[in-house]
Amino acid sequence: MGNFISTTEQQQKEMLQEAGYDSFDALFAGVPEGVYQKDGVNIPEGLSELETERRMEVLAGKNQIFPHIFRGAGAYNHYIPAIVRTVVAKEDFLTAYTPYQAEISQGNLQAIFEFQTMICELTGMDVANASVYDGATAAAESIFMCRERKRMKALVSATTPPQVLETMQTYCYGRGAELCVVPEKDGVTDLEALASMLDEGVACMYLQQPNFYGILEDAKRIGELVHEKGAKFVMGGNPIAMAVIRTPGECGADVAVGEGQPLGMPLGFGGPYLGFMAATKDMMRKLPGRIVGETVDSEGQRGFVLTLQAREQHIRREKASSNICSNQALCALTASVYLAAMGAKGVQEAAMQCTSKAHYLQKELEQAGFHLVYDKPFFHEFVTDTPVDAELLMKQLEQHGYLGGLVLSGGRILWCTTEMNTKQEMDELVRLGKEAANR
């Protein structure tokens, strides 16, 4: 049994005495009878470190690790450079709190400042915050940056990933905000429907690029439509894709958000991941969460501090722009180290390999009888139908260590490739698919 306490029982006795108490129970004399559990709660006795590690290894061993992953849908299997793993394991970064005391937190603060800069670069926006919980909550928070007195309604495209859409709906349920789903047509946002839904009461429109089906939408056109009606345009996106496709900034977005997991975070059964948020300068003071700014110290040296805190809950309480306090700082650091290790060329190379492999796999699958459902430009995910029962196919792939695409309604399959997928394993995947089809 471990408790990580650094005093001996003898010292504890002496300290109790010096503080004026004769026992531990005396410290809790103010707790009403009936709620005080003198002997503790009913959980098992503690374990040694070795026993705990063994126990956790057994748990981890009950999961199936897929050596070949062709599933994305919001969580992507990218390579994580070794330097990323070692930097974020540094104890100082790991064990620090939010950098409230700037003089002894310059490293942390500077790292956030660098992160904000990289997010601005990726998104093509003016300012970025220090992160929020994930891409879904970033999308949800963005709605409340845009609502104004007469513009209270938010629009969201039906091509948004379900996890993101559902999170937005929950946040809107909270504040009683209206969220309307713009229908899709042939795998993309229905522009006619969008035009008819845009009225004077619309605060913003959310579009994810690439969308849930991996398709690249006509984001620039959508941005124009939204702006014509005086509403704000919010774009969600994949940060790896942003390195090669038109940025939210280039598409005229007022707010850009996204899921930063592809930037060096493991799949980890869904988290911790990284929500990033960026905006135009005009929207800067509407951003939720921590923001780091550059300043000087009393001797004129460059330094960094948490800034624009008048937006935040610890100052404004019920008038704050959001309740967020803890964010995903270590994940933001992860993303920064990843982007530094890859460099612009490396990220663009990863993006290009994602796209190239997806197109290779799609063509091969087409020949095996898995037809592309939407004939539209796509980044690294695409939807096919299937000549065999989709669930059955997944079961068969599983036995060979392949995590196939995500099965969607109507037996369609959402496939995903990254730079991790080799030609050899894609060929094997297709062979297994053919085999299943011919069975």
Partner: protein, 462 residues
Amino acid sequence: MKLLFERSVPGCGCTILPACDVPLVELDAAKREQALHLPEVSENEISRHYTELAKETHGVNDGSYPLGSCTMKYNPKINEVAAALPGFTKIHPLQPDHTAQGCLEVLQTAEKLLCEITGMDRMTFQPAAGAHGEFTGLLLIKAYHDHRGDTKRTKIIVPDSAHGTNPASAVMAGYQVINIPSRADGCVDLEVLRAAVGEDTAGLMLTNPNTVGLFDKNILEITRIIHEAGGLNYYDGANLNAVMGLVRPGDMGFDVIHLNLHKTFSTPHGGGGPGSGPVGCKAFLQDYLPETGAQSIGRVKAFHGNFLVVVKALNYILMLGREGILQASQNAVLNANYLRKKLSGVYDMAYDETCMHEFVMSLEQEKHEESVSALDVAKALLDYGIHPPTMYFPLIVHEALMVEPTETESKENLDELIRAFLEIHEKAKTDPEYIRSAPHTTTIKRLDEVAAARNPKLRYEF
């Protein structure tokens, strides 16, 4: 320190990816036009850069961190080992359940243990942090009233000693906040509470021990008043480290709680996150939890929350067990009272009685007599390699310093902390200017926060 961008040398970089083994496909439409500026640095340069930054970052590994309300206890390394097991890190969140049994068992086991510790019946791990948990918990309360057709309950009562996240979360859940003044000792004034409740009361948000570190003795009466008015009681678990294993929020009349696994259950704070803010509730609210069915409030985050953080917390709970959990809170409270006793008489204690895991000092007198503020004392502590206490919180105490030593500090560390506080107090009398201009030994001195906010420079310009 140089910025990473200032270390950039065109042409430098790392070799990470192999050449593409399929024909290259470039997207024709919607190509990015603007250049992408990222640092061009070798791996050696990256390593040295972050080593330099780490040296300028004070973590729990660097020294005492008595930051009130934040529970900066030691973060056991075995937690990190467990969370780095490939059997956890390489699992896709949308894998079929039968291939993720280990992950599901982690969540289930953590739920069972934490429900036992808190006296709750069910728990969700979706919330990513404490404030996220507050929002989620309040939505459970909202859904409860909504499903009963009780739509007139539009108000959440929050004492003025509460964490800032409480009122902010209430607003996000669509509630009007009723701030009630606390008694002089930070506890709830029963008369004020009785006058505040009514048919419009949706619930109360409370942390106990409260933010001045006192256990509210009237807790059973407080939660009864709310229940009798038809409202529900929400427990902010930020201060659970004082009573974990000794007092269960469920036994105090609370219906919904959130925990901060990154505080009480030792997963590190990561310089601001990621945390994990699971929400527990009594059985009558379980149908409203995320991912439960038709009555669910819906999801508050993609997938299953900050799963790897839950792995760390489970690891910690397994290791401590019944006895260790008990000892952790007992010693958290002992260490706080030891410090309080040794400092009272020199520093003014806001409430000089037995505290729980933390206590609050007021520097009002020093401010008045020597023009030395809570901020000045905090900055002076930096010269001792000690992270200062939480400043200017709770709001009900003027010139507040909120001290939470945690159970993992040694007696030697506590004595060192005491010595530093006493020396600073002495120096404030003999040479107040020295304290007002502290810190003197850090690389960076006091920073101009006003200039930072007035002329925001939030990114590096190329």
